[in-house]
Symmetry: C2
Amino acid sequence: MSLAESGTVPLHQRIRAEIEGMILSGQLRPGDRIPVEHELMARYGCARMTVNKALSALVEAGLIERRKRAGTFVSRPQIHMAALAIPDIKAEITGRGQVYRYELLSRGIIAATDGDPVRLGLPPGSRLLHLTCRHLADNVPFALEERWINLAAVPEAATADFATVPPGSWLLAHVPWHEAEHRIKAAAAGPHGAALALAEQSPCLVLERRTWRQGDGADGEPVTYVRQVFPGDGFDLIARFTGS
Amino acid sequence: MSLAESGTVPLHQRIRAEIEGMILSGQLRPGDRIPVEHELMARYGCARMTVNKALSALVEAGLIERRKRAGTFVSRPQIHMAALAIPDIKAEITGRGQVYRYELLSRGIIAATDGDPVRLGLPPGSRLLHLTCRHLADNVPFALEERWINLAAVPEAATADFATVPPGSWLLAHVPWHEAEHRIKAAAAGPHGAALALAEQSPCLVLERRTWRQGDGADGEPVTYVRQVFPGDGFDLIARFTGS
DNA sequence: ACATTAATAATGTATAGACATAAAAGGGAT
DNA sequence: ATCCCTTTTATGTCTATACATTATTAATGT
C-alpha cells in the first residue's frame, strides 16, 4: 500500500477514476497527453503494473488511446455509444410496481420458407415454433409480441408450457448466453392496433430482436426472432452513457 | 512466453476468448463453475496474474462472477444490455453514400422557465440557445432536430455559425466528453410532419438526448437537450450485443 | 543530402512472490 | 443443536523485475 492511499478503494481504481474525472470535466481535452506511466508511478507512489491496470481499463472504455513510444492521449469522441438496457417485459412491469399479466394468443409449428418474415437465415423447411402473445400491466395492454423459435436449436421449446410462462422468460432461463441484434423503429399500429386497444394509425415503437447461439467453431445457430410492439406513448427505452 | 503459446495473440486474451467461447456456445451454462486460478495456471502454463487478467476482463463484461473462497461461476443473464450506436446524423448519411445537406430553420435565445419542455433542470432565467434545423439525405428530409444549448456551459455557442455547421457536429468538436441520457420513443409526426414531408399521423421515431458535463467535484452541468424526429420507415437504430 | 542503421523512450506482456480479504468449512465448548 | 473461534481455500491487490514491441529520434556511411 502506498502513502497516497486514503480510503478502501483499490489504488488502480482510484487512479482510473481521477483520470476519468479530468477527462469528463474537460480539464483534459481530446488529444491532450496523459502523463507517462513512470510519472504516474511517482505521483501515486506505486508500481508500473498498477498504473498500467488503470490505463488499460480506460483504453477498454474508449476514453484514451495509447501508442508505443508516443504516449497516451485522450480519445476524440466520434459516435454516441450508449449502454441500452433492453428490458425483459415482465421485469419491466413488475419493476414499476404494476401487476403483470400474460396471454398466449396463438401457437403453431410452421416451416421456414425463403420469403419469410423470419430473417433467421434458416434452410427452407426448418421447423419453427410460432407464438403470438400479449403482455398487460394492470390489465392494460402493454406490448404485443410475435415470436419464432428455431426448434432445431431449442427442441425443448416444443413441449414448454407457453400458456403460463412468457417465451422470453422461458428462453432466458433455458438458453444460456447468446448474441443478439436489436432493431428499433417506429411504425403505425396497423392491424395489431386492436390487440393493444389502439387506432390503426397510432404510432408504436417496434423492437425486433434476433438472437443466435455461438457454435463450437462454426458460425452462430439462430435461436429466436421476436417482434415486440409497444404503444408509442406508454413506453420508452432509456440508454445512458458516459462518453461523447 | 509459455509453451502453450501458438500465435501472435497475447495469452491472457486467448484464455479469455476460450472461456468466453465455452460460455457462448453453451458448454458452460449459467451457474457452472469455472476452474480455479491455479488449475488454469497449470493448464496454460502461465502465472496467476495472467489468468487473473483474463478472468477480470470477463467479470467486467458481465459473463462471470467471482466470490472469494467460493470460486468463479458463469453469470445468470438477466437483462438484455446492448451497445447502441447513436449516430451523428451527418456521419450516418454520408456513411450510406448519400449526399448530406443541412438547413437551419430557426435560431433564438430564450430564457429557461419552470414549466419548460427543456428538462435540463436549470434555474429559471438561464439563457438558452434554441435551434431548429433539418437534415436531408439526397435532398430528402431525413430528420428534424430541435435543440437547446445551455449558454452558461457553452458560451462560445452564442457566436457559432449554425447556419452552415450542424449543432451536433459543432458540439462534438467543441465540447469534449460528457455524459448522456437517451430516450427513444415513437410518436406521430404531428405538426412537424410538414417539414419531413409526412402526414400528421405518420409514425416517427423520436430520439431525445440530454447531455451534461461532469463538474470538478459537484454534480454535472447540463450542456444540451436535443429532440430528433425520424420518419419511422426510413431509419432504425441497431444495437448489437453479446449477452443474454 | 539521403538512405540506412542504431539508440531510445514509451507501451505491452508476463513472471514469481507477497500479503490482504472474504467466505466457507470444521471443531469445540456450552 | 447453537454459537464462537480457527483453519482453509480462493480471489483481490500490489510489487519489482524482465523482456518484447514499436515508433521516434539520433547517428552513421555513402
